[in-house]
Symmetry: C2
Subunit: 224 residues, 2 copies
DNA sequence: GGGCGGACCATACTTAGGTTTAGCCGCAAC
DNA sequence: GTTGCGGCTAAACCTAAGTATGGTCCGCCC
């Protein structure tokens, strides 16, 4: 699982490798964690505060965030909420020396990967990081697919989007034509254009794209 | 949300209403919770042990389970694992007087709805129950749809299942025919039979069914 | 005002999808 | 041993889908 180049120089920074971010106001904690992660070949970047982390431009690789629940200015929990509100969905692993159960519940409900009490075993932290990175990798892959689909869908004209919705809902060309008040031949032309622009290789393919885009199944039909 | 018949006799048991199950070895806790839930019109059934709960035949309505983490024989956490292993997916709300963070994390990771520390506010418990019931309702709805689809798919002959897989993957009839080594006309016959047995109103409809059943997209073909 | 793109439509043609009717083969159940 | 079913196929026929080619109309931008 680890890349096997663990013994290479500390700043090899291959753009493919995941990154672990650490935020803790205690430098000794940061160093200990950095050493732990580097010992298994994981790129690590540590910050002394949430603010510093936000300055850092987000790298475009799978990553996760190790966070002490008791941060200087902003609490770890509040920072988690901030990130979510800002649309940053990096998986978070909390650690705490004096946490309580309500905090834990709140963090986990908000999607935290794990919540470790200090002192924790190195292996527990590494397991949590593995899970977190994997989760982020999946999320990024899905986001990428979705972004591509959305871009393609946005390149359709309004009419084409409308036809795509009706076609993927299962209507025949003539039904689509009647629905929007045009000739059947016009629908066929739109349809061909849709297949090209969306790069769909078949109707089932297009239907799956529509599913991912969340098009049409809720409305049912015959409204508006 | 509540049915509005809260003042009716204690055992009106309309089959539509959700049920809250309570397991606690302390009778006073059981009574207090039962009273709380009944005061807002929720059917409630309480048990003194996990064993008693398992004896009870599971009602076919949305429900949830309130569980003390410290159960007599089996711990609440282990019981949660038992239920999961047995394929019983009722949402669980834990409560505890002396819980710790690792327990909380384990419970939440395993899908618990909430983890309340005693003493808790009534409203917190009611909120958790509302969430849990809603979650179970959704899960049941999805399970029902899935079960119906599986039944329909099981009614297909092996050949029909194979053809459905290929057709929903986007292959044309002639390609399917070549793939399985039969004449195109045979594929058409199978296909018509599939549409009837699956009660699909259109190809997009069938594709969506295949998606839910998890058929065929992994195998791919002609990608990239 | 000319060019451009979106939307529309017609004719003509080809391919794909789908049904009906009818029949053959093999196998398992009765 | 006959009946039923799954699987297969053919012929005939019809509808649906898709692709040119060619053209109109409208609004927008430079």
């Amino acid at each position: 699982m680890v890349t096997g180049r663990a013994a290479s120089p500390p700043t090899h920074t291959n753009a493919e490798d995941p990154i672990v971010f650490v935020i803790d106001d205690d430098a000794s904690v940061r160093d200990a964690l950095s050493n732990l992660f580097r010992s298994v070949g994981l790129r690590t970047v540590a910050f002394g505060s949430a603010h510093e982390f936000l300055q850092h431009k987000p790298a475009d690789v799978p990553s996760c965030l190790i966070l002490d629940i008791r941060l200087p200015r902003l609490s770890g929990l509040d920072f988690q909420a901030e990130l979510a509100k800002a649309g940053i969905h990096i998986p978070i692993i909390f650690m705490t020396g004096h946490g309580d159960i309500p905090m834990t519940v709140r963090a986990m409900k908000a999607g935290a990967v794990d919540f470790l009490t200090k002192p924790f075993r190195d292996q527990d932290m590494l397991d949590a990081v593995t899970t977190a990175i994997e989760r982020d990798r999946n999320r990024r892959d899905e986001a990428k697919v979705l972004a591509n689909l959305r871009a393609a869908f946005a390149s359709l004209t309004p009419r084409e989007r409308q036809v795509m919705t009706l076609v993927t809902a299962g209507l025949m060309n003539k039904q689509v034509a009647a629905e929007i008040g045009v000739a059947e031949i016009t629908v066929k032309i739109h349809r061909g254009q849709i297949m090209r622009k969306m790069a769909a290789k078949s109707l089932p393919d297009l239907v799956r794209m529509a599913e991912i885009l969340g098009i049409g199944q809720a409305s049912g039909r015959a409204q508006t």
